[in-house]
């Protein structure tokens, strides 16, 4: 197991553990009912508990495997004999690095999109998002400008004009 895979599984298991705990906490006051008439709290409490227990087991197993974490991706390729991940070949997956900057950049683009959609409307927000994403993907100059205008324009025409989806106009322009 590579450090990236190990960390990703730790984060996933921790996330699922938190989800399980929150589910149990939120459904604690809901009625469980009886087996002949189960209450609204039955499923969330049962599955919340199952999620908590199984994610704890996964965390424990990962903790026990911490000594097997190797830097080489070859270890993962040997481990994953079944094509477990849809859309990727194991060779590509094993060598895929993690750049936190890419993830953070995406989150920034998204926040800008949401804020601008609320204030300036969808068209301006989508132009900013496409320009931001294109820039992050190393696109520059007139190509980036063309992509921004075309994608935002076509999207607006298809969804707002043709399909009748009322895209937000933004509070500045209402």
């Amino acid at each position: 197991m590579t450090p990236i895979l190990f960390k990703a599984r730790i984060i996933t298991a921790a996330l699922l553990l938190v989800t399980g705990l929150v589910t149990v906490w939120q459904s604690w006051s809901l009625p469980m009912g009886k087996l002949q008439a189960i209450g609204a709290g039955f499923f969330p409490q049962v599955f919340g508990t199952l999620l908590t227990v199984l994610s704890s087991v996964m965390l424990l197993l990962l903790f026990l495997q911490r000594g097997q974490v190797k830097a080489s991706p070859a270890a993962d390729l040997q481990e994953e004999t079944v094509p477990a991940v849809e859309g990727e070949t194991p060779a590509v997956e094993g060598e895929e690095p993690v750049h936190v900057r890419g993830l953070i950049s995406f989150i920034v683009v998204f926040i800008v999109f949401i804020v601008l959609t609320h204030f300036a409307g969808f068209v301006i927000a989508s132009m900013a998002a496409v320009a931001g994403a294109g820039y992050l993907l190393s696109m520059r100059g007139w190509r980036l400008l063309l992509l921004t205008v075309l994608v935002s324009g076509i999207n607006y025409l298809v969804f707002d004009y043709w399909l009748g989806v009322s895209l937000p106009a933004g509070i500045w322009f209402q």
Binding site: R9, I11, T12, L16, T19, G20, T23, Q26, L30, L35, Q36, A37, I38, G39, A40, F43, P44, F47, L50, L51, S55, V57, M58, D76, T81, V82, P83, A84, V85, E86, G87, E88, E93, V98, H99, G102, L103, F106, V109, F113, I114, T117, F122, S126, A129, V130, A133, G134, L137, S138, M139, L147, V151, S152, N155, F159, L163, G164, V165, L167
Partner: protein, 502 residues
């Protein structure tokens, strides 16, 4: 038979033909593009169908569904990059054929194989779905509970190398499906006292995030994206007589095998290609050719994934239960149009059902006609740089998620699941158990609570009914199989040791 002819007649109207053509062309393009798989693409394009008439909307989605499977092979064969996961196996011999200058033959065999398997699959679907649906009319909540539960158990066995990880994702999906108003009591659950969550989480942004947006995030972290270079010399498009002879058997076997695997819950299209490749290699007189450009290694798997696509529609159309993400999106398309697929669909919406089946026959022919002469054009699409493609995918996902319920909250849900999808990719965990947990969770809960009400709390009654009892026994066997297998092997070892001693 009259129904099929009526369906083909409806599908042959000019408007439906045009929609079918757009669907198969879009699907082929999506399949060709590396990265964006059919699941992400169909969920992304789903909002386009919202304002369409039901028959036309479903014909378009079905066209994209089958087109995606066709197109996936093109980039696998030409540039060694699978357009979608179900074409990974095709790269083994397909790309070797390209290196030997037989790219045209590989593409042609792939298209013909897909056509034959697609036709076999649709014929089997036409004749299998109605009787199963007829039988399913008598299904009650216990039978549906057993079907969903066994579906989850089979899915967890086939999806990941770890049962624990699969179970975790299925349960997480069920928990997500619980959010919102409880249909039985009207109680608010897991809504955190916000109005946004009262209607629950729509699964379209969830699927878009897990499959489409996660791809965008992955592309963003890889800064220098270079377009893929391909050798497009397709002078010899038609396969030789010998190549056709060698491909015929694998095409038919792949089609039938794929269809049967498609009926099983799980990533059927992917598994079918591995199964077909393994089968062809095993029965071949020249297994040494495999991996070095054997045409059988292209014909079999490509036929199998198309057969599986048709097979996966049987549980959806006859029972209303999707067992993999692609039919789940089709279910979403049906529900948006006010049509509930399942046993009553053929009686309540016969025109839509048979027009959909009819369009599949026509779409399959269209795909063959489209793929053979236009293969060069589609191959050029695989050159499209992710720098251009990914911002388009991102903005389509944003608008698509928004347009489902005209809610910016759904865009936030999309992004949360996009990040989760990215995390799952890094953790090498297949997201389909999560998706199916979200989709089948409500059916599991409703059928369980209705069943316990019918049985007055006596759970043993699940085993007393023939169908639910048999299904649950199968589920139990699947769960305990590794343990049983271990015991059998241990016993055999002990026996052979005892025989040696004698």
């Amino acid at each position: 038979m009259e129904d099929i002819l009526m369906g083909i007649g409806t599908a042959l109207s000019w408007s439906n033909l045009l929609i079918c053509l757009i669907g198969v062309a879009l699907g082929t393009m999506v399949g060709v593009l590396p990265g964006l798989g059919p699941v992400g693409a169909i969920s992304m394009l789903l909002p386009i169908t919202f304002s369409m008439e039901p028959t036309a909307a479903l014909i378009l989605i079905a066209g994209i569904y089958f087109g995606g499977m066709y197109g996936g092979s093109t980039s696998s064969i030409l540039v060694n990059v699978p357009g979608e996961a179900a074409s990974v196996v095709t790269t083994i011999d397909g790309y070797k054929m390209t290196q030997k200058g037989r790219a045209g033959a590989a593409l042609a065999v792939s298209a013909i194989g897909s056509f034959i398997a697609g036709t076999i699959g649709i014929i089997l679907l036409t004749f299998l779905a109605p009787p199963i649906a007829q039988m399913a009319i008598r299904f009650g909540p216990p039978e549906y509970f057993a079907i969903v539960l066994v579906g989850f158990l089979v899915l967890s066995r086939l999806t990941d190398t770890s049962l624990l990880r699969s179970y975790l994702l299925i349960i997480a999906g069920i928990v997500i499906s619980i959010v919102g108003i409880d249909a039985m009591s009207g109680t608010l659950r897991l809504t955190f006292d916000t109005t946004w969550l009262i209607d629950g989480l729509d699964f379209t942004p969830i699927i878009m995030g897990l499959y489409g947006l996660s791809e965008v995030i992955s592309a963003m972290e890889q800064k220098s994206q270079k377009p893929i270079k391909a050798d497009l010399s397709l002078r010899k498009l038609m396969p030789s007589k010998d190549e056709m002879k060698r491909s015929a058997g694998p095409m038919f076997r792949g089609g039938i095998l794929g269809f049967l695997i498609g009926l099983i819950p799980g990533p059927a299209t992917i598994l079918s290609t591995y199964a077909s490749y393994g089968l062809e290699k095993k029965i071949s007189k020249h297994p040494e050719r495999f991996g070095k450009g054997a045409i059988e290694g292209v014909a079999g798997p490509e036929a199998a994934n198309n057969g599986a696509s048709a097979g996966a529609l049987v549980p959806l159309l006859s029972l209303g239960v999707p067992f993999s993400p692609l039919p789940a999106i089709l279910l979403s398309a049906f529900l948006i149009q006010g049509i509930t697929p399942g046993p009553t669909m053929m009686t309540n919406h016969p025109a839509v059902f048979w027009a959909l089946i009819g369009s599949m026959y026509i779409g399959n022919i269209m795909l063959l006609v489209l793929n053979l002469p236009m293969v060069g054009l589609f191959a050029k699409i695989s050159h499209l740089s992710p720098r251009v493609l990914m911002p388009i995918v991102m903005i389509f996902c944003f608008v698509g998620a928004y347009s489902v319920r005209s809610s910016l909250f759904d865009v936030i849900v999309l992004v949360i699941f996009g990040i989760l999808g990215y995390l799952l990719r890094k953790a090498k965990m297949e997201p389909s158990p999560l998706v199916l947990g979200v989709i089948l969770g409500p059916l599991l809960e409703d059928s369980f609570s209705q069943s316990t009400m019918i049985f007055r709390g006596d759970l043993t009654q699940f085993f007393m009914r023939p169908i639910s009892g048999t299904l649950l026994a199968i589920g139990l066997l699947i769960t305990l199989w590794p343990l049983i297998g271990k015991l059998i092997r241990r016993r055999r070892n002990l026996q052979s040791k005892a025989e040696k001693r004698i």
